[in-house]
């Protein structure tokens, strides 16, 4: 049965009338037209659909809308407008992290989540930070380098 669900999406109060069992991923992509989050596996394995729910990194393909009522959701469309988001996007472009690009929105979200919580990650911590995100193109090395670069720049620009 459809229900009115209110939540905060990228800083704005929004609502949607939907079945509480519908997936957050479908609602943000189809109802709100925010298509940065991708559907890769539909079972929370690949991380391509990653968003932040109350500041925690989650895979939106396995979050039912009922769990989103009254909560705070941030997608890449919101994150890319933040100072840290811009630094990460630039570092990904500068460091050659991007190939086919399908996993990249999720990777950027995971990087954002890591750097919000750890301003000075080691290479190993970067690897752990994206270990829930599958990439089939890059072998991860240039993504890791780009994450380290983003951290270095953010420390200089944002957290000095």
């Amino acid at each position: 049965m459809d229900k009115r669900i209110e939540f905060t999406l990228n800083g704005k109060k929004v609502f949607v009338v939907t079945d509480p069992l519908n997936r957050l991923l479908d609602v943000i992509r189809e109802h709100f037209g925010l298509t940065a989050a991708k559907e890769g596996c539909s079972e929370g394995e690949c991380g391509a659909c990653s968003v932040l729910l109350n500041g925690h990194l989650v895979t939106s393909c396995i979050i039912p809308m009922g769990a989103v009522d009254g909560q705070n959701v941030e997608t890449l469309e919101g994150v890319r407008e933040t100072e840290l988001g811009k630094i990460i996007v630039d570092a990904y472009a500068d460091g050659g992290a991007v190939q086919c690009g399908f996993c990249i929105p999720g990777m950027v979200m995971a990087t954002y989540y890591l750097l919000m919580n750890n301003h000075n990650p080691t290479e190993e911590e970067c690897r752990v930070g994206i270990s829930g995100n599958i990439c089939r193109c890059t072998g991860y090395d240039l993504i890791i380098k780009s994450m380290m670069l983003a951290a270095e720049r953010a420390r200089r620009i944002l957290w000095a």
Binding site: K38, Q99, I104, V108, I144, M148, L149, R155
Partner: protein, 747 residues
């Protein structure tokens, strides 16, 4: 904790690259620059097929055969609500043919009567509500007469259930010989060893599943798809509707990974969609869910390769014979060419006095196998490398020392009785990598059975289409247009699927013309606009279309100041003096090989049998790097995929049904599985490539699996003859395995 010194390196890593736009032409082709698609993709703004919507668009769901082999007895379709359709073979209009024209035209658009494998397309259920399609699907009843199926290479060869292709289940075959007659050598040789090497299925697992949208515009059928080869899709499907080929227009949409899995496979979506569009006339969207994409899509061919090798008492190889079996599945499609490439690469990077190979593409009741990065070469290279390691161990010779003796050189004869044209850089690679990895010390220290191991493999990949195929079959054409405002448009059919071809081709043009990158445009191809420059496959896009763009740009530069707007076209010509006979497979199979060497170091956990990769070193000859960092990214990705193929990527076809169907079942490498790779190059420029560049996209996959298995075999002192080897199989090898797989023929 990371220290400042470390971080400084990252900043330096980046600042040595990424010149300003206007500096690009001065930097040359090698300097790494920003990829044209990086910002779009990193901000999530890039649209993929699933992100597209059209007014009045409806959705489709593919309905597939659920038996492995049989006859369709009856299809019962429920009364469909208004606006819903079930499209089948019966909807193909008069004069249309129920087939897809891949390389062979045997794969049917819709199963008709006969079912050759589980998942063969029966029909397309279309309608406005996707949830409703799932409900209706449950109500479609298909009755079958089931038949006994053959699903492995052995069952296919034994014609289990009766042959369904020819009278022997052999889809295709070929034979190659060089040197003296091997049978005669076997009669007198001191030793003859048999060794059987097998490889399993591999799923592409591109992050973006297959998807396509069909619409109609101005009486033409428009297909928007995630695909590699727009002209392949057009050629494959227009005969379904019996319309002129130009009435099918294919537009590539940003493709979220492909690796060969979107070379011919998009035809499977395009065919039924075209027939549906003919009947319904509205935009129709078909996006595969991950489970259906894994279970019902093409994979890398499983292989079984049997070597018979004659040696003297010291282990010197006198002759090598091999029989190559590939599990082709229900339809031939592209597999004859895959088998050919496998056989052409069966000697790997080696030369033996005499050699013979016979290849067989075996028909089975499995989902057909098709292109996957390497296109038949990786199975052959894994087999020869592993066989060489087995021989080395048998004769007590360190594997690198053993392999080194046989490395092929410029001017040496190949198995197709052509010559190697270029200087082979393997000796230089050995120097680079043994030093960087401390190979000699570790090989000696770890030995066999210390649970630590280091392994090495050599590999190559013939660039572009075999022999004179580029000029005789593909006839690729590209066009450059100078616009009055000083910008240049590239027109060709190459597709960006992550490999960086958009940036590479624009860079070749910009550097040659001496203009900034931003002045060179290259849009995703549309078959109604661009000339057919051939498929984005066979590691040919930089090597061949890139070369044509360089040549066109040279002419454009000469005319630049005297003409405002004009176009230059170029078509590929095969260089003189390198004959090839496609009927007999004799001559120069490839004018430019990419070459590679990989070293892998592992440590095996004695209690859990988990394999920890401690280091990966690789060196490649790619002719020239059109963009160092793009090439670096290709190396990283190819190596990770190659290690996955040999280790964790187990997908089992059990009685015609794939057991692993999701990303939690099918395990590809994560960021935790492989440490930072050390990447080297030893380039030998290719005369007919742009700035010396040759193919490299597949090369970087081809050999690392063998290096990994060499390392693992040494660590646990077990011969390993079959991949993949996930941890539970490692445990099995330790407990029950053998430390020699070679079977010596009794004289």
């Amino acid at each position: 904790m990371s220290d400042k010194k470390n971080n400084f390196e990252y900043e330096e890593f980046v600042e040595s690259f990424n010149p300003r736009d206007d500096e690009t032409p001065l930097c040359g082709v090698e300097t790494a620059i920003h990829r044209g698609d990086a910002y779009q993709k990193a901000t999530g703004a890039q649209k993929y097929v699933a992100d597209l919507k059209f007014p009045d668009m409806i959705y489709a769901r593919m309905i597939r055969a659920q038996v492995v082999r049989g006859k369709i007895k009856k299809i019962t379709v429920p009364a469909l609500p208004k606006g819903y359709y079930f499209i089948t073979e019966k909807d193909i209009p008069e004069g249309g043919k129920n087939c897809l024209n891949m390389i062979a035209s045997d794969w049917k658009c819709f199963a008709a009567g006969e079912v050759r494998f589980k998942g063969e397309t029966i029909g397309l259920l279309c309608g406005p509500n996707r949830e409703q399609l799932f409900e209706l699907e449950k109500q479609i009843k298909i009755e079958y007469i089931e038949e006994e199926a053959a699903t492995t290479i052995e069952e296919g060869l034994a014609c289990k259930g009766g042959a369904f292709v020819n009278d022997n289940n052999i889809h295709c075959q070929l034979k190659l010989e060089m040197g003296d007659n091997v049978d005669e050598i076997f009669k007198t040789a001191p030793h003859v060893f048999e060794d059987t090497i097998e490889t399993g299925y591999q799923e592409h697992l591109y992050l973006e599943t297959n998807g396509m949208i069909v619409t109609k515009e101005n009486n033409k059928y428009i297909l928007y798809g995630s695909l590699q080869c727009p002209f392949y899709v057009r050629k494959s499907t227009y005969t379904l509707l019996n319309i002129p080929i130009e009435d099918v227009v294919v537009r590539q949409i940003s493709t979220g990974g492909a690796f060969g899995g979107k070379e011919h496979f998009p035809d499977i979506l395009a065919g039924p969609l075209l027939v549906a569009e003919h009947k319904i006339g509205k935009p129709i969207k078909l996006i595969f869910q991950r489970e259906e994409d894994i279970e019902y899509s093409v994979k890398r061919h499983p292989s079984k390769i049997v070597f018979k090798t004659a040696t003297d008492d010291e282990g010197n190889i006198l002759a090598m014979d091999s029989i190559v079996y590939y599990n082709v599945g229900g339809y031939l499609a592209s597999s004859y060419v895959v088998l050919q490439r496998g056989c052409f690469h069966i000697m790997g990077c080696y030369k033996f006095p005499s050699a013979r190979t016979r290849g067989y593409g075996v028909a089975t009741n499995c989902y057909p196998s098709c292109a996957f990065r390497g296109f038949g070469a990786p199975q052959a290279i894994f087999a020869i490398e592993t066989h060489m390691s087995h021989l080395a161990k048998h004769f007590g010779i360190e594997p690198l020392q053993y392999k080194k003796k046989y490395l092929i050189k410029q001017g040496d004869t190949t198995i197709t009785n052509g010559k190697v044209v270029e200087e082979v850089q393997c000796p230089k690679m050995i120097e680079q990598l043994t030093e960087a990895s401390d190979y000699y010390r570790k090989a000696k220290e770890y030995g066999y059975g210390s649970y630590k191991g280091i392994g090495i493999a050599f590999y190559n990949h013939g660039g572009a289409f075999t022999g004179n195929g580029e000029s005789a079959i593909i006839k690729g054409r590209v066009r450059l247009t100078k616009n009055a405002n000083g910008t240049v448009d590239i027109f060709c059919g190459q597709t960006e699927m992550g490999q960086g071809i958009n940036t590479a081709l624009r860079k070749i043009a910009a550097v040659t013309l001496g203009i900034p990158m931003s002045k060179v445009n290259f849009n995703a191809p549309d078959t109604s606009i661009v000339p057919d420059s051939g498929p984005t496959a066979a590691s040919r896009s930089t090597m061949v279309p890139g070369y044509l763009i360089e040549k066109a740009a040279i002419e454009m530069k000469e005319r630049w100041n005297s003409e405002d707007s004009f176009s230059v076209e170029r078509q590929y010509q095969h260089p003189e003096g390198y004959p090839w006979d496609q009927a007999t497979f004799q001559g120069y199979a490839y004018l430019g090989y990419g070459w590679g060497c990989a070293i892998v170091e592992v440590e095996v956990d004695k209690r859990t049998s988990e394999v920890h990769i401690k280091g990966v070193w690789s060196s490649h000859d790619v002719g020239n790097c059109i963009d160092k960092r793009i090439v670096h990214g290709q190396v990283n990705g190819g190596i990770a995929q190659g290690i996955g193929w040999a280790s964790t990527e187990l997908i089992q076809n059990i009685n015609g049904k794939f057991k692993e169907k999701s990303m939690s079942d099918y395990i590809v490498p994560t960021s935790m599985d492989i440490p930072e790779q050390k990447v080297f190059f030893a380039n030998s420029p290719y005369e007919w490539g742009p700035y010396g560049a040759k193919g490299m996209g597949e090369l970087v996959f081809n050999g690392v699996g063998a290096a990994y298995i060499d390392a693992l075999s040494r660590a646990i002192n077990r011969d390993i003859s079959k991949i993949p080897v996930p941890s539970e199989y490692v445990c099995d090898h330790v407990l029950h395995g053998t430390n020699s797989c070679l079977i010596e023929e009794k004289k």
